[in-house]
Amino acid sequence: MLQRLGSEALGYLQRAGRMGCFLFACLVSIVRPPYKFRPIIRQIHFVGSRSMFVILFTGSFTGMVLALQGYYTLRQFGSEGLLGSAVALSLIRELGPVVAALMVVGRAGSAICAEIGIMRNTEQIDALECMAIDPYKYLMAPKFVAGVVAMPLLTAIFDVAGILGGYLVGVSLLGVNAGAYFQQMYSSVVWNDVEMGLVKSLVFGLLIIWICAVKGYYLHLEKSGGFGAEGVSRTTTDAVVLSSVSILVWDYLISAIML
């Protein structure tokens, strides 16, 4: 019993250490020359611009439902005019970064994990190493840069789409005064709120790529066995679950620190 507990604990420590070393190696490989921009652009395209549609879609619907719920709640206190600031604040500080990050996990994170996992399974990563090509520099560095660049931009787009969605429901459908909607927003949102959203999205961007990439990269060391198609699918599921959970945990931590 004690022995099993010990070996479990050691296993966790080992995995944590491995993840830490992996992140360190990736970050070092980003700053080490030579710099190649084409792979970075390609990854930003993959993580960022190809997530646009889903971000616009979820963003506007999130804003719409916020406005809908907010309107009926605020009306009980006769303060429908505050709708703009309620929608904007909850989007910019919380929902924007979190929901956008969850969407990116589902779309790009899972793909990254599966791609790297399959490369590991089919010896493509071994082949890179044998060709004296650093897999961190070649595979990971562009993905990390893309994650950190694309995530804040996607979050910003999500926020804007949400605010417009809120306008559509609040002003056009429910009849809140358009001037009040934007005036309240303008006076209540301060730089600190935007900063918090920005910090969150940067952290989430790094977190998503880190967890999904490391899971794929060490697929062959997974305790449940990372072999074959089933191994890839199981590891991808793990990566998506783990990144989603970490996003929510870190969301709380960052809020607690920055508020």
Binding site: E115, I118, M119, T122, E123, Q124, E129, C130, A132, I133
Partner: protein
């Protein structure tokens, strides 16, 4: 060529390696002489690929040393290992082509990532290597669109594109029919004559592989037996080697035995 004059390219000294409870390599000793072709044979599951992965530095030994040109892979910094690997070319068992890159980009990748060569130079070099492998008109295709034999040839082109000093072949003909295997062997001869690399081949394509070999080593229960020229290997007195040769090639009759057999029958 006397043996003492030849340089040793790779040397395994008392290498031990276990996976879990199973001891796969038990004090392996093997020297690969520069400029020669060393073939490692043995039944499946005896650790042939494991030996190869140790030579490549993909696996570290539990005990013992793996020396490449006199330098120990296991005690190397990452940057040194990378430098050693600059001299390596590898044809993997499942070829391990990058399946999201087309054939041209696959072969060009080492040139793009490791050299300062311009695109024109890269294109010429890649086309030359593909032509050497009799692969024309496949540049735009993706690995999944090629047959097994063609993939192997692309893999060989990729392994040779940096003009390596040592080339490793992990089961180069497994899964190919006889004519495709012969094609690979023919390309092997052709490229080795031209590029003069040291070759390490892991295979169980016995006896055909003997034609390629300068030295044959048998891996048996975690140990290396032989590492001798194929003629000697086939006539070896070692009971294990003898059993392997007889199992894979049929009994070999020396004239004395053959006659006795003949007379007994009569």
């Amino acid at each position: 060529m006397s043996e003492t004059k030849q340089n040793i390219a790779i040397e395994l000294v008392d290498v031990e390696r276990s996976f879990g409870q199973q001891k796969v390599l038990n004090k392996i000793n093997l020297a690969v002489r520069e400029g020669t072709t060393t073939v490692i044979v043995g039944p499946s599951g005896q650790g042939k690929s494991v030996v190869l992965k140790h030579m490549l530095g993909l696996l570290q030994p539990d005990r013992g040393r793996v020396l490449v040109y006199g330098k120990d892979l296991a005690r190397m910094r990452k940057s040194e290992l990378k430098a050693v690997r600059q001299d390596f070319g590898v044809l993997f068992q499942n070829v391990a082509l990058f399946d999201s890159l087309n054939i041209f980009d696959n072969v060009a990748l080492p040139l793009r990532e490791r050299t300062q060569a311009g695109e024109d130079e890269i294109r010429d070099n890649v086309r030359e290597k593909l032509a050497l492998m009799d692969l024309d008109g496949v540049e735009e295709k993706f690995p999944a669109q090629l047959s097994g034999g063609m993939k192997k040839r692309v893999g060989l082109a990729r392994a040779l594109v940096m003009k390596p000093r040592i080339v490793f072949f992990d089961e180069p003909t497994t899964g190919l029919d006889v004519s495709k295997s012969n094609e690979i062997y023919r390309l092997f001869f052709k490229t080795q004559a031209r590029l003069k690399y040291t070759a390490v081949i892991v295979s169980h394509d016995v006896p055909k592989i003997f034609k390629l070999a300068d030295y044959v080593a048998l891996i048996h229960e975690g140990q290396i037996l032989g590492n001798i020229p194929p003629e000697q290997f086939q006539l070896s007195d070692n009971p294990v080697i003898r059993a392997f040769v007889e199992e894979t090639m049929g009994p070999i009759y020396s004239s004395e035995r053959e006659e006795r057999f003949f007379y007994e029958k009569v």
